[in-house]
């Protein structure tokens, strides 16, 4: 019955990740880490140790889904390069550091991020930038569902998230502050609209800029849709310049098209929904 005769010698249990300290090579302030098959705890511990020891550039190769890279890292001036697929909750609670991902990012990147910068050269997944209260997230490709959900500004903290491709439903849902920009210039599926439905649903602060146009049915009930005028394009321009520099793109080309600005009609959209007893 069994086809055991053809099989290789008995294997041990296959491990997804091993709980071992990754191999590190130091060259002055630059450290190179081989994350291949290393469990996230040991990997992140190593990154934190390197930063504490003065490394200003940590280049991580062989990343494949390890979670929490740079999570809670408050280290202005530190740059982390991720080569591979960044795992869930990358840069969660991060403040100050920069993470540049050469590959795709899974779900929940920039979750509740306070500051710093995340650059994704591939696509990013769902719930990108959830509750972000500061810093920058730049994505070259497409993003998933519920991106920029409940992004909020507070005093001098103004979060900015720019997607070069297209977004799925609930982009900017509950948005309370900051800036979301959707360019639709890259991305795989030309046939799909630039954004899904429920764009800005429940939005009560901040602004969403979409390169080109969106249909009213794509948007939440609480937003006003208009073409961005000079004043708003002026606010957008420095963000696009920074994004273009990070992505090696041409600012003028990005700005060559009209932008649609989506902004809340009220800071208290549901004031009339309730009848106090």
């Amino acid at each position: 019955m069994m086809t055991a005769a053809t099989s290789a010698p008995p294997l041990g249990v296959i491990e997804g990740y091993r709980q071992v300290t990754p191999v590190v090579e130091r060259d002055g302030a630059t450290a190179e880490v081989d994350a291949t098959g290393v469990y996230f705890q040991q990997l992140n511990e190593t990154v934190r140790r390197l930063v504490a020891e003065g490394a200003t550039t940590v280049r991580i190769a062989g990343v494949n889904g390890q979670r929490y890279l740079g999570a809670g890292l408050a280290a202005p001036g530190v740059r982390i390069e991720v080569h591979g697929t960044a795992g869930n909750d990358t840069a969660m609670f991060m403040d100050g550091a920069e993470i540049e991902i050469f590959g795709n990012a899974q779900d929940g990147v920039g979750n509740t991020m306070s500051g710093g910068r995340v650059i994704v050269h591939g696509d990013a997944g769902d719930v990108l930038g959830y509750g972000m209260r500061g810093g920058r997230v730049f994505v070259r490709g497409d993003v998933g569902y519920r991106v920029g959900i409940h992004m909020k500004a507070y005093e001098k903290h103004v979060p900015v998230l720019v997607c070069g491709g297209k977004a799925r439903d609930f982009f900017g849902e509950y948005m309370a502050g900051g800036m979301l920009v959707l360019l639709g210039m890259t991305g795989r599926d030309a046939a799909q609209p630039i954004a899904g439905s429920f764009l800005g649903a429940g939005m009560h602060g901040g602004a969403i800029f979409v390169r080109g146009t969106v249909e009213p049915w794509q948007c939440g009930a609480e937003v006003g849709i208009s073409e961005a005028g000079e004043e708003h394009r002026a606010a957008l321009r420095p963000v696009i310049e920074e994004y273009a520099a990070a992505m090696d793109m041409d600012t003028a080309e990005i700005l060559a098209a009209p932008f649609t600005r989506i902004a809340p009609m009220s800071h208290r959209p549901y004031a009339k929904l309730y009848a106090p007893m």
Partner: protein
């Protein structure tokens, strides 16, 4: 005339220091409580505690109190029981009353609680995410047949039945109340609200006044034993037809609209002579058995161009088997009216002692139709009494497709549940045909209040669905797993198909 033993139920008190002597109370009261000689003088025995005068008194100087005469304590012979004997000894009559059963029977809705999501599945934000309440009432196929559409996709092959269903934007409809029992302005208010809300109103058995024709796509025309107001024309105007077998407030009892309520308009709408009584027999005399019901259902379908036909029954002991028969007789929906359901006039003994709670009726009917594999063949509308969105949600979770609101509808228009509709003197202008009273309801105002009410309940239903982690009402419908019982006995839990809290 001999002195009655029955003392006034209420005492009307006027703070004459504050009274403007304006006479507004005299003008507002439909019961003739007040005389006016320099100042208003109330006759307590006429007061129904409807609060019309209280509401409109500019000086806020009127209060209505219970007449708290002391009786010798007797848990067996309540004050009401004694009064009933005296009243009947006075008159020899059947005690007549209105609205629904007020007795302290167990209120099952109040012993059921709903679930919410925590951690293992997420609740959903009902304000910003889709939260769908749309409901289709009527017969549906058990499965959907499709065929290739030639472009790589599929299209319907055959009839799913859905195209002939009644589409409701929300699973709350207005219960049947006839023109005659309520005023035309009430009908207009409800019809306008039904259209704005994307739901239905129901004529009751008094026919469809021509003022309602603009809203006919949202009107269910009732066919009751009196067959009032039925013509081939209105049969084809209505969105659906409903055979009324019984109603929760008076199962097994007919109706009687007194001649004095049959004015010119009511006469024209009911197609009966002005001033003569309009009597609805207890049974339909062409339905003495279930096969006769089938005969009438198909007669109505034939005559109306195959509009959906529903059947309204009072919830009684054998309701599950009856409902099964109704579905197999071809009904598109069953309207289950529980024993708390209201009416414009009913013998008190019938209202208070006949019928079963709608919660039980929903549970056993829904289960019976599932057991027989015919649940898709008809929808269930539950009523009597749905007091809040919570009741609606619980009724739907037990298995109802939609709920109907009658008493709540009238409350929204000013009704204070004084249970005196049968007098025809409703001071709020609802259950009367006296022109000076009926004009108190401005249809535009009424429509707005009803629209507000159903919108508010709909928002609340969405809140409940969101907490339950579902975004469409069909995922709550019949999902008894999301209900738990507190303080219901095991047998009742078993009948309801609901577990006790903690399990």
């Amino acid at each position: 005339m001999q002195q009655t033993f029955v003392q006034p139920e209420f005492r009307v008190k006027i703070d004459y220091d504050k009274c403007h002597k304006c006479g507004r109370c005299v003008q507002q009261c439909g019961w003739g409580v007040y005389d006016f000689t320099e100042r208003p003088i109330p006759h307590d025995e006429k007061c129904r505690a409807c609060h019309r005068c209280v509401t409109y008194c500019p000086a806020h100087c009127i209060t209505i109190e219970k007449n708290t005469l002391a009786f010798r304590d007797n848990d067996n012979w309540s004050a009401d029981a004694r009064k009933a004997v005296w009243t009947q000894a006075d008159s020899g009559g059947v005690l007549l009353t209105s609205m629904g059963n007020p007795k302290p029977y167990e209120r099952i809705f109040d012993k059921l609680v709903l679930d919410a999501c925590q951690v293992t599945n997420p609740s959903i934000d009902p304000l910003r995410e889709p939260m769908e309440l749309r409901t289709y009432l009527g017969r549906k196929a058990d499965s959907v047949a499709v065929e290739p559409d030639g472009t790589g996709g599929f299209r319907l092959a055959g009839d799913s039945g859905v195209a002939r269903n009644i589409e409701l934007a929300v699973p709350i409809v207005f219960a049947p109340m006839s023109y005659g029992s309520v005023s035309l302005n009430v009908h207009r208010s409800i019809a306008m609200a039904a259209e704005r809300l994307g739901v239905t109103m129901n004529t009751g058995e008094g026919g469809m006044h021509e003022d309602l024709y603009p809203y006919q796509d949202h009107i269910i025309l009732q066919v009751a034993s009196g067959r009032f107001g039925l013509s081939p024309e209105v049969l084809k105007r209505a969105a659906a037809l409903e055979i009324k077998i019984g109603q929760g407030a008076k199962p097994g009892i007919g109706g009687h609209l007194p001649g004095e309520k049959i004015d010119r308009d009511v006469s024209a709408t009911r197609m009966v002579p002005q001033g003569s009584d309009a009597i609805s027999p207890a049974p339909h005399h062409d339905i003495y058995s279930i096969e006769d019901l089938r005969q009438l259902i198909y007669a109505l379908k034939e005559a109306s161009g195959y509009r959906p036909v529903g059947v309204k029954i009072a919830a009684v002991h054998n309701v599950a088997a009856i409902a099964s028969g109704i579905v197999r007789a071809g009904a598109d929906y069953i309207y289950l009216d529980g024993f708390r359901g209201g009416t414009g006039a009913t013998p008190q003994v019938v209202r208070d002692h006949i019928g079963i709670p709608v919660e039980i009726a929903i549970a056993v009917v829904d289960q019976r139709l599932r057991d027989e594999g015919i649940r898709n063949h008809a929808s269930i509308i539950a009523a009597g009494s749905i007091r809040s969105s919570a009741d609606a949600a619980k009724a739907i979770a037990l298995g109802a497709d939609a709920v109907a609101i009658g008493t709540a509808t009238l409350l929204a228009l000013g009704c204070h549940l004084c249970q005196s509709c049968h007098t025809g003197n409703c001071s709020w202008g609802i259950t009367t045909q006296r022109p000076e009273l009926t004009r108190r309801i401005d249809p535009e105002w009424g429509a707005e209040r009803l629209t507000n009410l159903v919108n508010a309940w709909s928002h609340e239903l969405q809140e409940i669905l969101g907490a339950l982690g579902v975004n469409a009402v069909e995922s709550l419908r019949g999902s008894r797993e999301r209900l738990r019982a507190i303080g219901l006995d095991e047998q009742t839990c078993r009948i309801l198909g609901v577990k006790p809290a903690g399990l």
